[in-house]
Symmetry: C3
Subunit: 320 residues, 3 copies
Amino acid sequence: MDQNNIREEIGGIVNKIIADYNGGKNIDAVDIFNKPDRNEVIDIVNNLFSVVYPGYFKDRSYKSYNPENGVAVITEDIFYRLNKQVSLALDFCKTRDQMCEEERKEESYRVCKAFFEKIPAIREFLETDLLATLDGDPAAKSFEEIILAYPGFIAITIYRLAHELYLLDVPVIPRLMTEYAHSKTGIDIHPGATIGKSFFIDHGTGIVVGETSVIGENVKIYQGVTIGALSTRGGQKLSGKKRHPTIEDNVVIYAGASILGGDTIIGKNSVIGGNTFITSSVPADTRVSIKNPEMEYRSAGGKEPVKEEIKQSDEWFYII
Amino acid sequence: MDQNNIREEIGGIVNKIIADYNGGKNIDAVDIFNKPDRNEVIDIVNNLFSVVYPGYFKDRSYKSYNPENGVAVITEDIFYRLNKQVSLALDFCKTRDQMCEEERKEESYRVCKAFFEKIPAIREFLETDLLATLDGDPAAKSFEEIILAYPGFIAITIYRLAHELYLLDVPVIPRLMTEYAHSKTGIDIHPGATIGKSFFIDHGTGIVVGETSVIGENVKIYQGVTIGALSTRGGQKLSGKKRHPTIEDNVVIYAGASILGGDTIIGKNSVIGGNTFITSSVPADTRVSIKNPEMEYRSAGGKEPVKEEIKQSDEWFYII
Amino acid sequence: MDQNNIREEIGGIVNKIIADYNGGKNIDAVDIFNKPDRNEVIDIVNNLFSVVYPGYFKDRSYKSYNPENGVAVITEDIFYRLNKQVSLALDFCKTRDQMCEEERKEESYRVCKAFFEKIPAIREFLETDLLATLDGDPAAKSFEEIILAYPGFIAITIYRLAHELYLLDVPVIPRLMTEYAHSKTGIDIHPGATIGKSFFIDHGTGIVVGETSVIGENVKIYQGVTIGALSTRGGQKLSGKKRHPTIEDNVVIYAGASILGGDTIIGKNSVIGGNTFITSSVPADTRVSIKNPEMEYRSAGGKEPVKEEIKQSDEWFYII
């Protein structure tokens, strides 16, 4: 193959791709220079773990003999970096009036200050989540194991941080944070959800908690639980409406249950069995389960029903 | 502990491991030097996001004042790197005759040229997917949020890129790309599937779209949907046969539905409710739901049925 | 904004965060310097892939013409690094008596030696898993594709490595390893589970295999399968008890099935259909399926039942 030829051909292909950028597509943003950077936001999230769990996560950039000094350096560093990203995100938001450069800087500083001032309060919640996790899982061996390895605990941590930025009206960044958690853990909690203390998630893959969900204190949920909406045939017209359920204090929701709709309230102390499907409110102190599901048992050939009846356990169907 | 002793012991263990490589296992490939590199393929995929969504993803290697210059540099760079990986993958494929070095280079260049020439056409599809996502999700706040954060949109992007390489008969690499998407998003779309314009995925964790699926335009699917095969008792004998369903235009498939089998066709405009289980064709303009699922409600002690009857919503069971 | 002011304000916020570290929370570990490092453990796991699948994974640090030399260097390197992490983890475990520095070093060396001596035996299992995967999936095109891309195979590999460290009583690290696999694949296998040869997982997202599960040889499982516990109302009191099922040889468990409880045994050669829910033992050579699930079919308006009856396939409901 002739190298000159190849160079020319590739140049031609590249030019066609660049020409295509001028077709007025929404997937193009060549004219906008300054946007939040996904990788930078993810890096900030990872560093925030060192701040909220001091001593548990090693930092490779700053070596210091006094860990508190290390945390001070990291915290200031994240403050400046988050400030930068928030300022880009504010600019970013098309529904606000464009604030002038100076106003935007002041607003992003105000937001970051408010966020970092909230960290002790966030840590108070996380401490209760940690205790709830140890208490809830017989396989949990130590606090360290939970903090370093449990996907539910990682997802809750990132949600609690993102939720504060959501409350401060920062666009894009809170969702970037919780989608990073979703990617790492399979747990999809919208930063707009409201979740009380002592929240416990086990296993977690497939969990969805929608934007307008309200969850009380001391709630436990397991893998595959959806706290979701009914039909969104309304599309963007439903934006901002309460579309997701309210879960009161001390409720347990076992694996695979779906609880749906903005008017659905699960009363306190109720227990929602595995694989249930709930679209209307449940009073307090109630246990809900699927009717003992009927199975068919046949011999290997697939023709003969098995003679002896096989009964399912009388245990409530709490899948874990 | 004697350091010499330790060194000797470790050396002995290493030797036993290396000796084990000569046992003729399929997991060994010590004699083959040149193979596609998983990390390199993942890096190429990440850079392709800068090419298909210019301006949305920052590149850290190339700083340029004209973003189009940046894209030109990245595009040429990926061209050369993909070319290298494709050439290794062609060599790799055991079912083809070994092509001589020169032929392989020519084939991989031909493949890469065809792939990059397809990028404007791929971008046309992605623009429709973006609009479908904003339209379908009341929680979506901006195009930026969708492009930077939505797992469904990330999975569709990677699938559309991988599918073109699949159509060009490149081995291994398309699957490496979609499995990277699977790892990031929990959405498992085989690169062999055929998917029309304006495809929308919400939440996404647990979605499976099989190799021989055919999906029309303007289709929406939610978390946990399987578009899958019935029994594969045939194993490798089924390879290449149509084992997965056809979904026609404008179909909506709500969370947790399973649609199975190569002869199953979901007719256009049909709506498939959450948690349904479908193994035969559904005519056009049909709504399918599970029968109102029966639940048991008991008081906290678990013995007493709750007196007042709790009725599920009359809403169709569209889980989101 | 006055830069001095800003510096002072940020300093004040940082001080409040640091002051909060002295509140006696379990999420604080500022006084403990030496802990296992999650990122280091993940890096060790990634390098172990080069050791168990020589030639399949490129190493970027060590270039060598003889791949066996490369493996020898990597193996020694991981040995020393794992030794360090195990020694930190042993210290870490609060339920053991604090061993003195020297004893801890000896114990971690003993553990690492035992682990690396097991690698040929682990590789023997992995070879059978590879063959089972090719055999089980009509979409599998080559061994290379499986080793480089299949999430089920990645999860099994990491589980088999972590399980050996679990058997050697190493705290924290085995779970860090399997949670890394969970994060990458959506497959959550506890390192304590016991799993025989020729294990095959397809798709995989949402799979949970609990700590005390026992799985025989030649077992296949699909996405969304839970091999789990019934209620853990006992919490930490259940720690150590057998809470998860036993699956005998040659069993197939299709997508979405839940098999629950420590006394539940699935007898050999049985086939468990998709979406089933099993809380008591099933004899050998049995096929279990959900009763043909009833669906409602209505015309698009949602009011009119579709006239012609739509029958589900007579195929057993094996979702894939």
